[in-house]
C-alpha cells in the first residue's frame, strides 16, 4: 500500500517517539520508559559463561532405559510412584507456582523463590538412568506428561521454564550415545543442574519441525551451523543447547555447549508464556565438534518431535484444567438477574463442554504416552492427540475468558493469562521433551 501524507506524518511521529534522544534529554516519563524497555527487541551478541562439560575418558556404554511392561487390561489408574509425583507437584503448583504466576508474567522472569522451591524436587533426576546418578529405571513418558499437566495447572510459563532442564535430560537419556550420556547426564543430578534448552522452533509461518531451515554442514573438525531458532527458553543463560538442523537434508539434533561462545541472542517475549524467558538465537557459521551430533544409529527425529508433542499436550491439559476449575466457582458465585449465572444453560453447557474436551485431550494424550512408554508405536496417537489439543485447548481458553465476561479480560483474574498461554499449544514444537 502506498503511503499518503497522513500515513507519512504518523510514521515520522512514531519514529521520533521511539528515538533514544528523548531519553537522554529526559523527555520521557519514567512509566513510558519502562514500557519502552520491556518491548525492546533485536539481537545482541552475548558472551555466554556457562560451565564446562568435561570429556569423559572412561565413558559408560550407551544406556537405553527399558520400556515399561504393558499391562493387558485397560487401566486408567496411576501407579504408586506416579501418584506420589502427581501429589507433590500438585502441591507445588497450588502453593508456589499459582501464587507467583501473575508477577512472573509481568516481570517476564522465573522468580528466584520458585526456582529454589522447584529445585528441591530434583525433577531432572527422574529423567536420568541410575548409572549416571539419576533415579529413572524405565521409560516414563506417562510420568512426564503427568508432571507437565500438574505444573501447567499452576502456570504454563513457569512449568515450561522449570521443565526445560528435565526435557534436555530426557532427550539425552533417550537418544544420546554413551559418551554424550556420560559427559552430560551426571550434571543434571547435581544440586544446580545446568541451564539447558531445546531449540527447535523457527520464526517462519507454517513451521514444520521436520524441515528446519537451520543447516549443519560437515567440516573437517565437525559441523558448521547456520540459522535462527525461536522460543529458546532462557537462551541468554543457557549452558547447553539442543539445536535441530538439517544435515544433508535430514533433520538432526546437535548438542551445543555455550561456555565461551559469543551468540547473537534476542529477547522475544510473546503473547503469553512470558515467565518462560523465551529468546531467539542466531547461529552464524558456528563450528561444533563432531561429537556434538546427538545420538547413534537408533536416533529417530520423528520420535524426538513426537515426544515433544506429548509434553506440549500435557501442558495444554494442565492449563485447560485450571480454566475449568476456575470458572466453576466463579459462575456459581457470580449473580445476574437474581441468581447465579451457572443456573443458565447457556453458561452451564459451556462448562460441560470444557470438561468433556479437557478429558478428551487427556485420554488421547495418555494413550499416546502409555504406548510410547511400553515401546509400542505412538506416532499416529501423538499426532492425533496434538491436533485435538491444538483445537480444544484454545477453545477452552477463549471460553474461559468469555464466561468471566469483563472480569475475564482484566488481570484481576488469571484467565486472560491462560488465554494467552493456551494459544501456544498449536504454535510451538520445541522447549519440552517427554
Amino acid at each position: 500500500m502506498t503511503r499518503d501524507p497522513i500515513g507519512l506524518a504518523l510514521s515520522i511521529m512514531n519514529r521520533i517517539s521511539g528515538n533514544p534522544l528523548l531519553d537522554r534529554l529526559g523527555l520521557r516519563s519514567p512509566l513510558e520508559r519502562t514500557a519502552y524497555q520491556g518491548t525492546r527487541t533485536g539481537f545482541r551478541t552475548i558472551a555466554l559463561a556457562g560451565r564446562e562439560f568435561k570429556r569423559v575418558r572412561n565413558w559408560l556404554p550407551r544406556k537405553r532405559l527399558p520400556p515399561g511392561a504393558p499391562g493387558d487390561l485397560f487401566d486408567l489408574s496411576l501407579d504408586d510412584d506416579q501418584q506420589m509425583i502427581v501429589d507433590s507437584l500438585k502441591r507445588l503448583a497450588r502453593d508456589v507456582l499459582r501464587p507467583a504466576a501473575q508477577e512472573a508474567d509481568e516481570q517476564g522472569r522465573l522468580p528466584e523463590a520458585v526456582k529454589h522451591e522447584a529445585a528441591a524436587l530434583g525433577l531432572p533426576m527422574y529423567a536420568v538412568p541410575s548409572e549416571f546418578g539419576g533415579v529413572a529405571e524405565q521409560q516414563s513418558p506417562v510420568t512426564s506428561v503427568l508432571i507437565a499437566e500438574q505444573l501447567a495447572w499452576g502456570d504454563m510459563a513457569l512449568a515450561i521454564r522449570l521443565l526445560v532442564p528435565f526435557s534436555v535430560a530426557q532427550a539425552i537419556s533417550c537418544w544420546g550415545n554413551g559418551e554424550q550420556q556420560s559427559r552430560y547426564l551426571p550434571a543434571f543430578c547435581e544440586d544446580t543442574p545446568p541451564v539447558a534448552s531445546l531449540a527447535i522452533d523457527e520464526p517462519t509461518p507454517l513451521f514444520d519441525p521436520m524441515q528446519p531451515s537451520t543447516t549443519a554442514t560437515e567440516t573437517d573438525q565437525g559441523y558448521r551451523i547456520n540459522g535462527e531458532k525461536s522460543f529458546v527458553i532462557a537462551g541468554a543463560e543457557c549452558e547447553l543447547l539442543l539445536v535441530s538442523a538439517a544435515l544433508n537434508g535430514t533433520p538432526r539434533v546437535f548438542i551445543i555447549e555455550t561456555a565461551g561462545l559469543n551468540l547473537a541472542i534476542a529477547d522475544t517475549p510473546g503473547m503469553g508464556l512470558r515467565a518462560a524467558e523465551a529468546t531467539s538465537v542466531r547461529f552464524d557459521n558456528l563450528d561444533v565438534p563432531a561429537d556434538a551430533l546427538l545420538g547413534d544409529d537408533d536416533f529417530c527425529f520423528q520420535a524426538f518431535i513426537d515426544r515433544a508433542a506429548l509434553m506440549r499436550c500435557g501442558l495444554a491439559i494442565g492449563t485447560a484444567q485450571a480454566v475449568l476449575d476456575y470458572v466453576i466457582p466463579y459462575c456459581n458465585d457470580r449473580q445476574a438477574f437474581g441468581e447465579p449465572i451457572s443456573h443458565r444453560q447457556s453458561v452451564a453447557f459451556m462448562i460441560s463442554n470444557m470438561a468433556i474436551e479437557t478429558d478428551s485431550m487427556r485420554m488421547l494424550t495418555w494413550r499416546a504416552a502409555s504406548r510410547a512408554e511400553t515401546g509400542r508405536s505412538f506416532h499416529r496417537e501423538s499426532c492425533l492427540a496434538r491436533l485435538l489439543c491444538n483445537e480444544k485447548s484454545m477453545e477452552i481458553g477463549t471460553n474461559g475468558v468469555q464466561l468471566l465476561g469483563g472480569h475475564g479480560f482484566v488481570k484481576e483474574h488469571p484467565v486472560e493469562r491462560w488465554y494467552r498461554d493456551l494459544r501456544s499449544t498449536a504454535t510451538h514444537h520445541g522447549g519440552v521433551h517427554a
Binding site: D72, F74, S77, L78, F349, S382, L384
Partner: protein
C-alpha cells in the same frame, strides 16, 4: 496405565466384526429401503449370540448382562461386561445400527430388567426380548412428567396411556413400560412394568417412518385398561422419594456408554470408507505434527479421527468405571454427549468430503449420515447429557439448573 483394548476381548471384537461384515453389511441397504420388513436373518444370529453368552465364563456380554458384573468378579482392576458390551456393539454398529438394534433379546428393556429386577423376575423375564417404552406424545426428555398410569387393583396393575418411539416395540416379546402410580407425586411414583406381548389392552397402533435406522421398528403402543400381575412391577412397589426414579435412571449409567459405542461404530465405518476413497483419489494421509501443510481434506480427516478417538476413549473410561463399581453418571453422560455429537459430525462430513459419491445410494455413506442422528437423541439427547454433566460439575439440583 493402559488405554488399549485388552487382548482377552479380541475374540469377541473379532466375532462381532465378522457378524457386521458378513451378516449386516450385505443386507444393510436392503432393509434401509424395505422399512418395516422383518430382518429374518437376525433370528439365526441371535441364537448364536445367546449361545456365546451362556457359554462365556465371565458372564457374557449384551444388554441383558449390563450392571450385573460390577463388584462381583474379584478384586483389582476389572475389564468386564460393560466394556465388552460396548466393544461388541461398536463393531455391530460398524455394520449397521438399525440391524444391531433389532437383534432379539438385546433391547434396552433387557438392560432395565437386568438392572432392577429381583431374582424371581430375572428367572421369568431374563430370556425375554424386552423393548423399552418411556416416551409419550407429549413427553420426551422430561421423563418424570409421563402421563401413563398404573392403578393397583387387587393382585394386578391396570395400565392406561400411550407410548411412542418404542424401539423393537412390535417385534419384542415384552415391553417395559414406565407408568406412574400417582400423577400428583412426580418422579417418586414412576415405576416400570413388564407387559408381555399379547396382553389384552396393549395394541401396537403404528410403526414410524424414519430418517434413519429404518431396519429397526419404532412402534407407537396404546394401553387401554391393560391388566398385568403385580409381580411384573420391576423393583420396589412403594412410592419412595429417595429411591424409585433414581433407580430407574441408573439403568442409563450403564446403557449410555453402549449407545455411545454405537455412535462410534457407525462413525468409524464412515471414516474408514472415506479414508479409502480419498486414498484411492491420490491423497496422502500420513500423520504429521504440523497439520497445516497438508490439504484441508486431510487435516479434516485427521481431526475427525482425533474426535472419534476421544469419543471412543471417553466411552471406554465410562464402561471401565462401571466394571470397577465406580459411580460413573457424569462420565457416562460425557461419553454419550461426545460420541453422539462427533458421530453425527463425522458421518455428515464424510458425505461432504466424498461429494456426490457420498450423497448417492451407491455408497452407504449417506445412510450412515442418516442413521447417526438418532444416536445423539435417544438414550438422552445431547442437551440432556450436557445438563447432567453441568449439574454434577456445578453441584446444582434439577430445580436450580433447569
Amino acid at each position: 496405565m493402559n488405554l488399549d483394548i485388552p487382548g482377552k476381548f479380541a475374540p469377541i471384537v473379532h466375532q462381532a466384526q465378522q457378524v457386521a461384515r458378513e451378516v449386516f453389511r450385505p443386507i444393510s441397504r436392503h432393509y434401509d429401503r424395505a422399512e418395516h420388513a422383518y430382518p429374518k436373518e437376525l433370528d439365526m444370529f441371535a441364537s448364536i449370540m445367546d449361545g456365546m453368552n451362556d457359554g462365556a465364563a465371565d458372564g457374557g456380554a449384551g444388554a441383558g448382562r449390563l450392571a450385573r458384573s460390577a463388584g462381583d468378579t474379584g478384586t483389582g482392576n476389572q475389564n468386564g461386561t460393560n466394556m465388552k458390551t460396548v466393544l461388541g456393539l461398536t463393531e455391530l454398529c460398524w455394520g449397521d445400527v438399525g440391524l444391531a438394534l433389532s437383534i432379539p433379546r438385546q433391547g434396552l428393556g433387557n438392560s432395565a430388567i437386568a438392572a432392577v429386577a429381583n431374582e424371581q423376575q430375572l428367572q421369568r423375564f431374563g430370556k425375554t426380548w424386552a423393548a423399552m417404552a418411556i416416551t409419550e406424545p407429549g413427553v420426551g426428555s422430561d421423563s418424570a412428567a409421563i402421563r401413563t398410569t398404573a392403578t393397583k387393583d387387587g393382585d394386578h396393575y391396570i395400565i392406561n396411556g400411550e407410548k411412542i418411539y418404542v424401539t423393537a416395540g412390535e417385534r419384542a416379546n415384552a415391553v417395559v413400560v414406565w407408568a406412574t402410580l400417582d400423577t400428583s407425586q412426580g418422579r417418586a411414583a414412576i415405576k416400570s412394568f413388564v407387559v408381555e406381548k399379547g396382553t389384552p389392552g396393549m395394541t401396537v397402533e403404528r410403526l414410524e417412518k424414519k430418517l434413519g435406522i429404518r431396519a429397526s421398528d419404532t412402534a407407537a403402543i396404546r394401553f387401554h385398561n391393560c391388566r398385568v400381575p403385580k409381580e411384573n412391577l420391576l423393583g420396589d412397589p412403594e412410592i419412595s422419594v429417595d429411591k424409585g426414579f433414581a433407580g430407574a435412571m441408573q439403568t442409563f449409567d450403564n446403557t449410555r456408554p453402549v449407545v455411545a459405542g454405537m455412535a462410534i461404530g457407525v462413525a468409524r465405518a464412515a471414516l474408514e470408507r472415506t479414508q479409502e476413497i480419498l486414498k484411492t483419489a491420490g491423497l496422502d494421509l500420513a500423520y504429521q505434527q504440523q497439520s497445516w501443510t497438508t490439504t484441508a481434506a486431510v487435516r479434516e480427516l485427521h481431526l475427525l479421527e482425533a474426535e472419534l478417538e476421544a469419543a471412543r476413549l471417553l466411552t471406554l473410561r465410562a464402561a471401565w468405571m462401571a466394571d470397577n463399581g465406580q459411580p460413573n453418571s457424569k462420565e457416562a453422560s460425557m461419553a454419550k454427549a461426545k460420541a453422539g455429537r462427533v458421530g453425527n459430525q463425522i458421518t455428515l462430513r464424510c458425505v461432504e468430503l466424498c461429494a456426490s459419491l457420498g450423497y448417492q445410494e451407491t455408497e452407504l455413506l449417506e445412510k450412515w449420515a442418516r442413521d447417526s442422528k438418532i444416536l445423539d437423541i435417544f438414550e438422552g439427547t445431547q442437551q440432556i447429557q450436557l445438563l447432567i454433566i453441568a449439574r454434577r460439575l456445578l453441584g446444582k439440583s434439577s430445580s436450580e439448573l433447569k
